[in-house]
């Protein structure tokens, strides 16, 4: 499937819903945990290298794109090499708690193939899980349809009329599937 990597790279530089350094392990058998800078932007989860030496060397260079990230208690992480190692589209994903401070992401077509993430606390783990579950377009669509229906029942008015999108197929109640 063809796609423009630059589009995704540009997206990865947008403000994140959540960003933190986490331990990450790929789905392949025998893969090891690596420290990654994980960044949730819209319905994509980007992960970057956290090579400290690399960061120190290139800081201040002409093509440096610097961003401040990191957990509130930890040191700020300056990201100067902004290309992600990879991205995960979060549609049709399942987020599961694996340990008190760890969760996994898998996808509907192969639920046993899991990407594992290690957090520094259960609190951080739950925070990420909640954010990831809400991070899909499908989730928002279902929420929108629900709210629209509730408001219509309570007020008798269609709240989407003001946006001029009440007729769009994607917002119809019939679009809700189990």
């Amino acid at each position: 499937m063809r796609y423009n990597e630059k589009e995704l790279q540009a997206l990865s530089r947008q403000p994140a819903e959540l960003a933190a350094e986490l331990g990450m392990r790929g789905p392949k058998k025998g893969s090891v945990v690596k420290r990654r800078l994980v960044k949730l932007v819209v319905n994509f989860l980007f992960y970057f290298r956290t090579d400290e030496a690399e960061v120190g060397r290139r800081e201040g260079g002409p093509r440096a794109g610097v961003g401040e990230l990191g957990s509130p208690d930890g040191p700020p992480i300056r990201l100067v090499c902004p290309q992600p190692v990879g991205a995960l589209l979060l549609e049709h994903c399942r987020v599961t708690q694996e340990e008190p401070s760890g969760f996994s992401i898998s996808f509907i077509e192969d639920p046993e193939r899991k990407y594992h993430f290690e957090c520094y606390s259960e609190e951080q783990c739950l925070e990420w899980m909640g954010a990831l579950r809400r991070a899909s377009y499908e989730f928002m669509r279902r929420s929108l349809i629900f709210y629209r229906n509730e408001i219509q029942k309570m007020t008798g008015k269609d709240p989407l009329e003001q946006f001029g999108i009440s007729e769009e197929a994607r917002f119809q109640l019939s679009g809700l599937k189990a």
Partner: protein, 258 residues
Amino acid sequence: MKLNERSVAHYALSNSPADHRGFLRTWGGPGTPPTPSGTGRRCWFVLKGNLLFSFESREARAPLGLVVLEGCTVELAEAPVPEEFAFTICFNAPGVRPYLLAADGPAAQEAWVKVLSRASFGYMRLVVRELENQLRDARQSLALHRHSSWKAGTSSCKTQPPDQLSRGLENGHTLSRDYSPMGLVEAGGSRPAGRNLAECELQGAASLLGRGQSPVSPETSCFSTLHDWYGQEILELRRGWRQRARGSQLKCEQQDKP
């Protein structure tokens, strides 16, 4: 850069609702010459959320390409583009080439431009948040109405002057005069005489909404979440009424003393 392509392709082909689909002629994009040449390639396009997939044909079993519709603007293509019913998808990011696409007719062109312009995650999130607020307002109005009719039976000691319920009424919903048996309503806003009540309401609803609990969540059983959601409101209201009843009783006693 790695991407979970297999999952992306699966999503493209899944029966999740498509926001739009149709045939479009395409130039630009990876693997094609930088300037439009020839009549372009006719592909089947499917828009799901902020993802525009292209397929060789309607029956294709795998997507040909993907365009992520974030940080872009969609516009009708202008001359000197010779193509009829053409439009472009331009990205703000440097180094990302625009896409040139052409529909089969003016109606299709207009429909595509409209739906692609609203495809971003941010737009969807805005609409959802707006509806969240509207639902919260509608529920507050309903609760206040219920509270007012309840209160009509109790003692009428005024405790505080009404404040503006600023957040709740920004969307143009004003409480109707029907809700003002105690003279609580002023133009544009009102607050029940008991401060705690409105705050509990806001906190109760906000905390549920803030936790991201949409009742239509795949993990929770729909009905029990809904039950808790509406039950919470009742519990908070009861707590508020009892507090107020105690409070206003005390106040009345104090006022009666010289």
